[in-house]
Symmetry: D2
Subunit: 387 residues, 4 copies
Amino acid sequence: MLRYLTAGESHGQNLTAILEGIPSGLGLTREDIDNELKRRQVGYGRGGRMKIESDRIEILSGVRFGKTIGSPVTLLIRNRDWENWRERMSVEQVSGERPSETRPRPGHADLAGAVKYHHTDIRNVLERASARETAARVAVGAVAKKLLKEFRIDVISHVVRIGSIAVESGNLSFADIGEQAEGSPLRCADREAEARMIAAIDSALAQGDTLGGVCEIRVRGCPPGLGSYAHWDRKLDARLAFALVSIPAVKGVEIGLGFEAASLPGSQVHDEIGHNGETFTRLTNRAGGIEGGVSNGEDIVTSVAMKPIPTLGRPLRSVDVRTKDPFEAHKERADVCAVPAMGVIGEAVVAFEIAGALCEKFGGDSMNEMKRNFDGYMKQVREFSSS
Amino acid sequence: MLRYLTAGESHGQNLTAILEGIPSGLGLTREDIDNELKRRQVGYGRGGRMKIESDRIEILSGVRFGKTIGSPVTLLIRNRDWENWRERMSVEQVSGERPSETRPRPGHADLAGAVKYHHTDIRNVLERASARETAARVAVGAVAKKLLKEFRIDVISHVVRIGSIAVESGNLSFADIGEQAEGSPLRCADREAEARMIAAIDSALAQGDTLGGVCEIRVRGCPPGLGSYAHWDRKLDARLAFALVSIPAVKGVEIGLGFEAASLPGSQVHDEIGHNGETFTRLTNRAGGIEGGVSNGEDIVTSVAMKPIPTLGRPLRSVDVRTKDPFEAHKERADVCAVPAMGVIGEAVVAFEIAGALCEKFGGDSMNEMKRNFDGYMKQVREFSSS
Amino acid sequence: MLRYLTAGESHGQNLTAILEGIPSGLGLTREDIDNELKRRQVGYGRGGRMKIESDRIEILSGVRFGKTIGSPVTLLIRNRDWENWRERMSVEQVSGERPSETRPRPGHADLAGAVKYHHTDIRNVLERASARETAARVAVGAVAKKLLKEFRIDVISHVVRIGSIAVESGNLSFADIGEQAEGSPLRCADREAEARMIAAIDSALAQGDTLGGVCEIRVRGCPPGLGSYAHWDRKLDARLAFALVSIPAVKGVEIGLGFEAASLPGSQVHDEIGHNGETFTRLTNRAGGIEGGVSNGEDIVTSVAMKPIPTLGRPLRSVDVRTKDPFEAHKERADVCAVPAMGVIGEAVVAFEIAGALCEKFGGDSMNEMKRNFDGYMKQVREFSSS
Amino acid sequence: MLRYLTAGESHGQNLTAILEGIPSGLGLTREDIDNELKRRQVGYGRGGRMKIESDRIEILSGVRFGKTIGSPVTLLIRNRDWENWRERMSVEQVSGERPSETRPRPGHADLAGAVKYHHTDIRNVLERASARETAARVAVGAVAKKLLKEFRIDVISHVVRIGSIAVESGNLSFADIGEQAEGSPLRCADREAEARMIAAIDSALAQGDTLGGVCEIRVRGCPPGLGSYAHWDRKLDARLAFALVSIPAVKGVEIGLGFEAASLPGSQVHDEIGHNGETFTRLTNRAGGIEGGVSNGEDIVTSVAMKPIPTLGRPLRSVDVRTKDPFEAHKERADVCAVPAMGVIGEAVVAFEIAGALCEKFGGDSMNEMKRNFDGYMKQVREFSSS
């Protein structure tokens, strides 16, 4: 069973994750993780803090001589800005006046969180509710991705909508999508749409507004048979939805056709089954690679909707939790759109869920053992499928 | 911790669920559950089997003299058709020829499930992957609903789309939606749209086609503070997404504005915060009652997209798993649309997740204790919120 | 992941268990389970109810034509005495006076349970706290045992102490212990001690007293590598201790030498390692087959201490929960000793834990797949171990 | 739900734990934790490394201005000796020859762990299987203890046996046991026995041998009603057994009378119930504070048996995993007995389990809320119990 916990405040000393259950013998370097951390930090539409961050991983346990050894992996990311926050974020009691944050921002966890935990200083909420935490999840996802690569499973994402601008649903191959998104400042595989998205972001910035959008996350190479229909809480699509909606600001998720499947007649929704002489095929992939909660061997396709960043240049009305006086929440900032980053985070959480399902199905304590089990199953699948 | 397991094949002897963690002292009758089972079975667009079923619950444990006693609750629903299937679904080995189902239906778990579990008789898959299982989940949800009622928390659903026909997004109150949906054969609160939906269903039936749609599920009365931003796997919206996507045929889920939030600028998405002299208010509820993974006291609003029923009157191409010969999958049937039922199932799984979150936050082994804890917290919230 | 829930009151309609996670293709018959249920019910020292019970299993789901199909297995045991209790254990509200049990018995969960769940009728506690529930666990364990048998793993138990009478720690082989215990009315492998134990039971009965004792539970054929040292909650010995102490009336558990290991010097406790030319050997098995939380391939040996049955013929003082008046708790009965049954229950819970660890390590959704993975690992172990 | 993960190798950079689920508002300082870390490190019979360690905690998250804020708590302990191990424990690949540990020590996880994870360098096993990991668990337990203190629940331990020397079972009060153990170099509350234990340790050292022993761990102030009889995996005694047996080298655990209960007749085992006019009383506490898996308000008493340290001065036979050549495992060292430390670790894991059960029963996200719920329940208990 693969599992992890993350910890850390946005302006605390660092973020930490402990990842438990990775088999021994998986090659893992800092670069593997730093690459993903970097991918999370780029993207047109982000303001200044991203530069401050420039995250780098420290692997504190579970890896020796470049390979996992089967014990829990500790991942640590220092917050570069920590020195400036040392006092305001002090672990110890401090004497004297402590400035308290009493103004909840609309669209954030601030007010609901303060009520729940009985906080009068809202900083106690926002420090942890911040999307900063996703850096730790991306680090965990990077390990999962490395594991998946050993089984030739790839996870990619691309931006398909920013605000009102959407890409044309095209016929790009998996490889092309991945490559073109990687070369785009917006992580968008459609150059024409990208230009209009950039213009939309610039325009929103000028108006003190922000934009959300939609990313598509795809998995290629997943064997058929991950997840299960046998019990509701083992369905692979449900697990992906759980992971994706847990990303801050995500308000919707789709598998395959998603909501479009609700609008079309059945004859245009279900994927017919064929056979190419060697193996079963599906003539389309409207299901997004999962039927009955079980992967079917096609690409897994999910779409994820993110709301706009809640901290605007334009004022939003709110109320001080102490005085109950109204005030206007706003902030001069250059952060307009975090959708490209969300795609990278989405890859990470999807990679973790697929890796988890893989570990469950194939067991194994070393990569050798896990691969042997995987190979044996793939042979079984081929025999089942071949004429 | 509230938890449950379900079991049972579609044409087996019965469905069973064991629900563990319900406090003692909750009033519970068979009628409470039978009402929900019945609600699941009605709905324009369903064919013949619904009549065969006419599900009735048997409570086999955990309830005494009309009240829960703190021990696990066993819920059993007999499959009325069982006698006709006794042989084909025999638990024991039978001598002689056993007819084997070797033809996977597109859009079902049939093929992926057979590959996973190494079944050559696809009946071993379809019996459990069938939506019949949801009857057990509705029964569990009925108990959860009863628990929620003690805290004045209500869960309703209504159909907002069937195929290409959608309701106008209106200004109906929570109570009106619930009432009008309940009186509608399609569980639709908009009479005008309902008429067109019925026409669309009739037309699909005539063409041997099927239709999906969208339900909205709403929760009223949820206290602020369920779920948590503190760790990703405790977010209430993620848990709801998990539960909803685990319903068969669901391909998408939204919280609040959902995908629309990805298209609009931030200034039109976030809910401003006010104060009415007594308590904090939100001027809108675009977030759907959850911010940062935490309920904020507003109505929780989720939308769920269901694909059309995969068994059509029109043929879909498939391939026999044994012979690898192509065949055409189709069936004469009157089942065109199961969206109203999906709404009821959605209520059940949402009720269970909310009840679970409630039990975690308030603890308590008896209803008295749980209510005392709840009341204490609500007083704390009022004091936090009042000027 | 193997998991199960049980439900049912001692005098309710039945006991139920749902077992989730068993691979497809495991041969399973009612006899497999009935045999274990019967073994639980025999044993010198038990009184009358055992005859009333004569438990028989009904398999309601998850098995078809004599084999598991991968979906959850429902196991149901009817309480034969139910008709006599129908009114007192009514699920529905009943009109008129309901006799209430207000007298907590010492040594039972009665008082602590009533306080916890706020029950004034102690029957609401004792019905579920009764050891009757273990019948469901034995049924679950019977399925686990059947799974283990496919991997040539056997689980046996024998009584090694009744009250002050203990067996001589002898040199019986695993097979001899199993066989001789099976032929003994007390499940004791030492005929000489058995005779004295029977005398002790007879004497206790005459005095209105009861006796506890100790069982040893052994597992043969466990591969090395189940459990893990990598995280505390994955240790195999901890999981066995959890399962064994969860059996009613168990007050202690030992792995290998157990408490004796605390009295001896290290040079007499640790098992030296040898090699026989083909594989590693251990010259002794004082560790009881588990080192560092990991099975080492030797027999797993655990001892479990059970306190005497708390309902005595001789009076014990107690206090009525309603009136607070003192009374004397006692009962005319022939139940003096349940230790042999405890051994059978211990086998069941140990079998479940080993089967769970096996499923985790080897994965697999069908028996074929699981066995292939197991065989691959055993080959790897042999190659690791051979010169 | 309280949960935690630990990570870190014995000679790695540090140990880390992430603890999730602690309510906000709990006062917590480094001293709270350092005190416990120090208690773990003292004790007659330990050799040199204890001095090297002198563990100190760093709290990296979850605490602000001396109080928990509801987000996960990161606890980090640096390994002082790390600099000397930097190369041998390098996370990165190193060029050149790497010395490999191929000699498994009897009594350790070395061989079973190497087989499981397919390690040829046994250091990959022993670094994580080392008891060093318990420092992280003691840190977690220190937080749990701080939480318990807010509810006036105390956890203490004392050594009751070292090798063949046992304390007389005396009549010391809870407070006296705690105080006298705290003042003893062996954490033994019996001065006379202590002297003989010290002599035994000195003698073992002279012979190159080691000694195990038994600790008793007691909890005072636990409310009645923690744990549950309603489902086997919620029993408090089972959870304590799980946690205690997960401590390295523990081979047995007892609740209350433990194995002695198996030897005595029922009339000498069960605790009679009384009433003192105000509340129910128990005339004895042979059950060790738990009946039917539920705390009954009496002191919780458990005994834990630890085997001797497996690394002896005297040689034990073993076999090299690469060459299969026999060798003699031994080491010049002053570590003879780690039983006092085990008691402190036992306190930690018991404190964690009790704190977890408390959080489940009383819920609550802030200390205020949790205490209000606790107080309400205690009032209910008093009303239930008073005449």
